[in-house]
Symmetry: D3
Subunit: 252 residues, 6 copies
């Protein structure tokens, strides 16, 4: 390779391979929800809101399951994408991707949450994407935790809940292989061209909740997978600190 001039690798927005986009939490975006936040990962912005319903779902009542329930709904607002995205209700059904994502958000939250302590309540976590630039599902999980934790602490302050059911914090980030290089927190131009796309959900204490790696009509090796897992763990450690600070600030 001595004589061949190879163009050096560069990310579209100039970040280092292990660098997150600027992350921001604007607490209280939806005042009628008990907890809410507008979370930004660069130009990806998602409204996350936690609403309390003083009932549990029908299936819990029918099966006499004790405790409470926490579930999530996700949608992309029609103007969140460059080309307007048709509403689910106009198409008549939620698409497969939407359903996958909202199930992932719900599972991720419940992995660090003791439902038994939420007696008789349901927490609805709504994640609506205001602007999409890659990583909307991981931003949603990250913001949903912040909204839910704020809602929980307000319930405790109002003496409607005795103990905090959260056992840890939870955050998510995407990693992927872009131009043969593993990178952290892909934006849309990177995501579109990535050959491997992974979403990691981890706790504040560094444990895994979900690790989903998927070749985009491609395959990947164990070595690539290991590098992606490392990058993700580094990113989530940073995000967890930012979540903590935002919740603190939001509860002042």
């Amino acid at each position: 390779m001595t004589e061949q001039t190879q163009e050096p690798f560069a990310r579209p927005d100039g970040r280092a391979v292990d660098q997150l986009r600027p992350i921001d939490f604007q607490i209280g975006i939806a005042p009628h929800a008990l907890g809410s936040v507008l979370v930004s990962f660069g130009n990806t912005r998602v409204i996350c809101a936690a609403s309390i319903d003083n009932r549990v779902p029908g299936w819990m009542r029918a099966q006499k399951v004790e405790g409470g329930w926490m579930t999530a709904e996700y949608s992309m607002l029609p103007y969140s994408t460059h080309d307007r995205k048709q509403r689910d209700i106009s198409r008549g059904k939620a698409d497969g991707r939407t359903i996958e994502i909202q199930r992932l958000i719900g599972r991720s939250m419940r992995a660090v949450f003791d439902l038994k302590k939420l007696t008789g309540k349901t927490i609805w976590l709504d994640c609506d994407v205001l602007q999409a630039d890659g990583g909307t599902r991981t931003a949603s999980i990250t913001g949903a935790y912040v909204a839910a934790q704020i809602a929980i602490q307000k319930l405790i302050a109002k003496e409607e809940l005795e103990e905090n059911p959260f056992t840890d914090s939870v955050a998510a980030v995407s990693v992927g292989v872009y131009k043969d290089t593993p990178v952290l927190d892909l934006n849309y131009p990177e995501d579109k061209d990535a050959s491997v796309d992974a979403n990691l959900v981890m706790t504040g204490s560094g444990k895994y909740v979900e690790a989903q790696s998927s070749g985009e009509e491609a395959t990947f090796t164990r070595e690539e997978l290991d590098t992606l897992l490392e990058l993700g763990a580094k990113g989530i450690a940073e995000i967890s600190q930012l979540q903590k600070a935002a919740i603190c600030e939001g509860l002042k």
Copy 2:
């Protein structure tokens, strides 16, 4: 009644009967739409976005109608109300109120718009209520006009449109009879208890587009109707000025 002390009439938030709530336009809330605004009438806040589709609907192509089309969709985000509102897609269909409102928004816009000048394009106006405190449909019309006007002027600036199809501005406000007193721009506590509820849509030049007055399981007289029409006209004159300033500012 000489000796009886009657409690004087007062609005819940202390406004004069002909006083609007504070109105605000935050331009550019949804950057992927060509025009967008977060419009506030007090605590009622609605995201309004105008997106351009370089096609016309199937029925226009089938019937070979010339020009373009402009249509609206309205929804209440689940966390916009005190008790979480189930998403349309979860219930399986848009409810009657939603359909009525989005038809009203579309009709109102088209009354001051020359569709012939929008050759081959569709403008989608999306109105999503972030926080509901009465008057969401009138705030939506008011904001949708601002978003659409900004989008149109950007299309002209980009030379994708020759002439501005808008023939006038359009705004809307609610009026109603609350505790036997006609008042302007009802908030939710007033709206809930009003015996007559009217929505007026008028142009910047003072003409009517829609005038819908409805007894809430009650009736009203011609005199009451006249008073409501006066109050509305005054309110819309003020709102039209605020729209003009916001558009100016937004296009800087």
Copy 3:
């Protein structure tokens, strides 16, 4: 203008501007309903039937609301229009116009009806258009009142109801601006070309229930609105007399 001969204004069917079409009520068209009528406004003919259900809707039982309920459903039979209209069930959903109209019929009836007196019952008002020639929604309201009043009086006669919950009669008529001239009770050729279209719902004692005026992709002035309101009030006074006579006759 002295020498120019202007064609004098004329309505397509030769009526005076303030003249109703021939109105007729054929009582008992659907014998299995407790009250029913085939109402005609000229060539617009609607089957209106009032059926009694000895239960209240689920939401009333859930919220323990006392009294009864009255609601309406509207549809255009497929052969009511010159070009066959597809059934709602074939399209998979009721269209927006249908939903608007059936909500309007229900609200109009409830404005002159004391639901508290209808303990434990639901009145279903079904309006099916047999032939459409303009003004199907106002004919539906006018006929639905006749069917409902007959059903109520039969319930009283059968001693299944103590007191008549109706507090007044209710009727409706359309008015509009056709060829720059305000006219009463538009037929389809007029309606199609009207620049302003209004629907008035009023009581037998001359109070308003709904007043909806709408520019058809056009605007209108306060003076035009006032003229329309006058025309409508005159028409409804006449219709109310005809309703009264029809109910009398129908109960013989």
Copy 4:
């Protein structure tokens, strides 16, 4: 059995076992359809309308099938039954019985109709039950033929069709075993208690189109089946004469 007094067999309305109910055809009930009739078999009354669409269904265009198409839709109006019947659109789908019946009506008509001669057109046969008292499907077939034949003859008169595609007339009647006795043209009280229920569709020249016999949670013998087939053939011969007269009268 000499001393035992057995109550003699009697039909609820006193008819002979092989006697039809009074049958009537009121031509022109829905003037916007090219052919229409309100057919009555006693208290069973059905609006039947034939509408012409100058297109063929998508599947015929796609498969380049020549000729035209004829299809039927059936519904029970909500007030046709003693207890109000919920609309299909409110339940979200047509029920199985409705679908079975409308398929039967369509098949029956096409059995005596040469689709090849209806070039490029679709005939829609709508059958809406106004009052139900047993035998609504057979009344629908009987009336649909009358409406369709009138529409066809008008098309020919207007020179929009060259030749009559009908090859025969078609009519239908129900037969069944009521209180162990085979009877013709069951009304609702008979139908409800019948152990065997059969619907026969036959041509004016005495051929079969459909013969459906069904034990109602019961079985039947070959002898019973033969008797039912005889009764039905007699009834249809009479109905065919009445159809012929009604069409003649309707085309005057």
Copy 5:
């Protein structure tokens, strides 16, 4: 016709006009159902399974009907036809033919079954066509009886049921007029070209449950109908013997 050589009649697979295809029952195809069978009529193969639900449908509870319920569902697996058949769920609704067939299966079973003896239980009969070559509905009825009878006898053996509610066996076969010749048990090539198509459901003791004959856009005479009924009776007698043997074998 003395000198004209006419090609002798032959069935596509060489069978005699009154000969059934090879019939086979593979018991236990779906071990999680209490009774199951893969039934074959030649190349038509259907999975039939009887599952027990220890509840009755909501309408039975609501109307306090005593006993149990038995109902059927039918579907064609997408790969059962030469050209892949789209799943009902992808099309959004069951088609009319599917609904007709599953209603027929349910009715046929209930005709030989005393629901009163099935206290508090529902039997679900699922019929999924694995390979379609004509006669899938009659194969489904024939197999559903075998699956249900096995399930019933297992319930009795487990002492969850006291008495066998079946009062007779039930089987079905198709007959039709193919190339002007009445034939028994049509395969797909015959069925496609048949001018008359009949489905007979009969009991082991030779009584009729359903007899449905239908001209395929054609008509038929009483003589043809009589011949078809004879052929069917002969076929069902043979099938009933095979069912009996299969059940015996399956319960060993």
Copy 6:
């Protein structure tokens, strides 16, 4: 722990932690599909069928994408579970889990398939679970590859395809943490109680296609993840050999 007798770890069916269930492929289960197999992983049995459609989806034609398409549908037959599972069509929509699984099957296949070489065709992969005992999605992927590979080779033999678009084989297996022990190929009793559940999709050459690990309302460490990945790789190597043999046999 010296004196405490701890019960040694044992799997419910006695397998070693790294031992697969007996795997079997019954080729040709659905003869009307070009390729089909009944795949068994122990008591989990899935019908997998590959059908060819000589068209590409509408979106490919609209976007003028070259090549072909391959997609999957998954369903659980109602009798595949111990308690009967309601059909999707009865519930009105596919559930979230179904949609996730069929998307996974499709993605997995396309990762080892060059769609460009399948000019103008769509391969439908249908996976219907006949009996469910854990691991139905991994069995479906494993069987779908076998069915698709057979179909492809038959297309080549029929000279309807020039080159084999498959670039590798693909198989899947589940791994998980059961009673604190990582195990391979979980059956239902293990799956139900597993704290971590992972599904691995890998190629015959040992590359990853998908690696999805998920804490079941629980978290897991990097060490546990590594062990699971090892177990899965071992299992898939064995399964790949069995696939190869089955395809060979099936094409004889």
